[in-house]
């Protein structure tokens, strides 16, 4: 019997066993899922906007905004680098930075022309030669607030005179720098250096926080090194994003999947936005250290820190355990007093009709535009003399 002629190995792609196996179906299904994702692009972007509680300006580019209208980071931290150049020049103005979580920029029932706290503050202070800029992000942790302060300090042009921080109790659960902030650090060596130096300098006083900062920086450095070592990888990924919708939309898909996992967790554990959730002690302690570190560093650079407890909806149930929340407020007030930091409890400044609806119930943390103005007014009333006080800035710079 004549032996079968040996075939070229790659000819198997032309033969029946390959085409009757799962491979063609896999290719087809992969193609179909890419087409589907391309179709969903719009809804994924909309989901991202909602996920960040961004208002109508959330997806706009800073560069396309009319002059003078960018007075806070519209991207809520996602494109910090894009909004950074819009921080008023500290060399020519007295600069105040307002920082905190989503309450600072989310506006319930938003109307065109509505103002956020930072904008209302800026309007109030501008006639006195003081400029206010908002740097807020959803769920901003104290580690991230410290990162924002250090980044501002790393450049004389952005070094503020006053750093107002709206402190939110349940953000003491959060840790880590979000990917967008990591990206910012990678691109700003001066901010990186200051972050690293500060951690080393204060390691003896705040060991947990210092170690966490150094670990965060180490992780970023490792990722950066891998990236720098392989510029080719960045090019290949860029190409994949151009060709494959799933690669281009992977961040939005990731957020969407995480959201589903979050809903699954809530369903599984019976968690609601109002479920009483005790603080996680280790995270709480770390966040306490970050906050104190922030105050100490600001003081070293001659920056006045102001802390206030953010307003809460008096009629909405919140997830805080009353004793823990009370003890948090006492602690914050005591720390501020010890460190000479102006403090106010603005918990009750916003009346119940100026809040909104969230997930079918009264929103306990985000309010309508009137409350943004009201909060700004409360800040001016409590701290106005500090905001516009003449300082010896020329001396210290």
């Amino acid at each position: 019997m004549p032996s079968e002629p040996s075939r070229h190995p790659l000819s198997m792609f032309l033969r029946r066993p390959f085409w009757t196996g799962p491979a063609p179906w896999i290719l087809l299904l992969f193609l179909a899922s890419n087409l589907l994702i391309a179709q969903w692009k719009g809804s994924l972007e909309e989901f991202r906007r909602q996920n960040f509680l961004l208002g109508t300006r959330g997806t706009l580019r800073a560069q396309s905004a009319p002059p003078g209208t960018v007075r806070f980071d519209w991207s809520a931290g996602e494109r910090l680098g894009e909004f950074w150049p819009y921080i008023p020049d500290a060399a020519t103005h007295r600069l105040v930075i307002l920082s905190g979580m989503s309450q600072m920029y989310a506006i319930n029932e938003e109307q065109p022309g509505d103002l956020t706290i930072a904008e209302a503050l800026d309007d109030a202070m501008a006639p006195k030669g003081v400029r206010v800029f908002g740097l807020a992000a959803p769920n901003l942790s104290n580690e991230e607030a410290l990162f924002l302060l250090l980044s501002l300090l790393s450049d004389p042009k952005t070094r503020p005179d006053v750093f107002i921080y709206g402190v939110c109790f349940d953000k003491f659960r959060n840790l880590d720098l979000r990917p967008a902030y990591q990206e910012f650090l990678r691109k700003h060596p001066a901010a990186w250096k200051l972050e690293e130096d500060s951690a080393r300098t204060l390691a003896a006083v705040y060991p947990l926080a210092a170690d966490k900062i150094l670990r965060s920086l180490g992780d970023i450095r490792e990722a950066e090194k891998a990236r720098a070592d392989d510029a080719l990888e960045a090019r290949v990924r860029g190409l994949a994003e151009e060709v494959l919708p799933v690669a281009a939309a992977r961040k939005d898909l990731n957020a969407s999947v995480q959201m589903q996992m979050f809903l699954f967790r809530n369903w599984l554990l019976g968690i609601k936005p109002t479920s009483k959730r005790p603080v996680i002690q280790g995270r709480h302690e770390l966040n306490r250290q970050f906050l104190q570190m922030m105050i100490d560093i600001a003081a070293r650079y001659g920056v006045r820190t102001i802390c206030y407890v953010i307003p809460l909806n008096p009629l909405a149930e919140n997830p805080y355990i009353p004793e823990q929340y009370a003890s948090f407020k006492e602690w914050l007030e005591r720390i501020c007093s010890e460190k000479g930091v102006p403090f106010a409890n603005l918990e009750n400044v916003v009346p119940s009709d100026e809040w909104g609806i969230f997930m079918g119930g009264p929103d306990f943390k985000h309010f309508k535009e009137a409350a943004h103005r009201r909060t700004a007014q409360a800040i001016v009333e409590r701290f106005g003399t500090i905001l516009d006080a003449e300082s010896s800035r020329e001396g210290r710079r």
């Binding site: 198997m12 390959f18 799962p22 896999i26 290949v236 990731n254 995270r283 997830p319």
Partner: protein, 476 residues
Amino acid sequence: MIFTSYTYLVFVLGAFLVHWSLPASRRNVLLLLASYAFYCSWAWQYGFLLLGASLFNWAWGRFVLPDAKSSKPLVVGILVNLVPLGYFKYTGFMVGNGSAVANLLGVNWHPALPEILLPLGISFFTFAGIAYLVDVAAGEPPFARLSEFLLFNGFWPKLIAGPIVRADEIREPILGARTLDVADLSAGSWRILSGFFKKVVLADTLAPIADLAYLRGSSPNAMDGVFGTLAFGLQIYFDFSGYSDIAIGTARLFGFRFPENFDWPYLARSPQEFWNRWHKTLSRWIRDYVFTPLTFAARRSPRSGPLWLVVAMAACGLWHGAQWTFVLWGIWHGLLLVLNQTLLARFFQAPPAGAPPARIRVWTAAVVTFAAVSAGWILFRAQSASQAWDVLSGILTLRGGLRPGVLRENAILVVAVIFLGLVVGQFLRGSLGKWKERSPRIGSVARVLEPAFYVLLILAVFVFDKEASAFVYFQF
């Protein structure tokens, strides 16, 4: 270029197409060039180290060892292999410990610790080189041609994280003509996909959880210790076995069959079985090239066997990293193996399957083994012995009760779901084949669902990629 990069996929695809397009006689040259290109893409200078080690081992195995009248040339060959490993991996460790000992003795010596970049995969190619020399000294035929040995020692899929392949396991495909069919393509691609999924989706998700529980200076509660350690045990398994999968899958696409490296180790019913399922090629290496020679050398005192087992496992620990915690981890496993063979031999002995009491015993043994292995991971993951003790004492004293001090319930849930998935996967693995045999309908349904399953894994790799990591507001 790392295994889980997009570039690696392009690299493999390009090499695959060129390799199988070339005449058989040119394929080894292509693989050799590709291997060195892969290795040098990380740090080209160290390509010379790999080349130098390969040249030495080939020449020593080809010209010196076959005519050796004593074991001295073999010892010299092994020492020459160990010198670069010792320098690159253990200089800092030795200097640090030397300084500590000197200070204990009253000598004020504080040398600056040298910053030495560890060459990629040096532990693996050193062990492969030593195994080759020992095998040749024991009578295995050496590679006659240098190019063949260079390919054996430098073939890129096994360079980064093993498996530690012996010469006789891939001699045939190196010397003879390699073949490829749809089954190879399918098996190789599946292993690569599985490796990507394990590393990118599972290991990288678990890593931050373990990191947080083992944050230096924190005092984790019992729940943090348990779930942080569980997260680390799963992370290291998925990380390591994922890399092995990619190595085995890649090799298969080029006509090589590497030995398996992991076989569902977390349901092992004894420490001994664990080491027969965990990093199998390393266990084999330690057994054949450390433990056996040690016991042979001490054959006149058979009671010293347990001691050599502990010594061999301590060496295994030191191989994993230049820190005392790794050595302690090795000693812990050595002690477990000794117990397995002595006091607890009956407990860990596999009984005949079937009867309910036996089943309970098997399960109990599996749970005890898993707990003992996990306790070992505390030593492996901790940054110091005192941190390991802090985590362990937190668990043993139920610090914080059932309330975590660091980890959120999200993290605990993720760890629990992945762990349960692993356990269910273990059972499905055995049962699915039987179900398919019993019911053709199940077989046809599985065939229909198979492509969708693969596509889901591919999409998961894209979506869970570190660079895709997105911030999500809803975290209450």
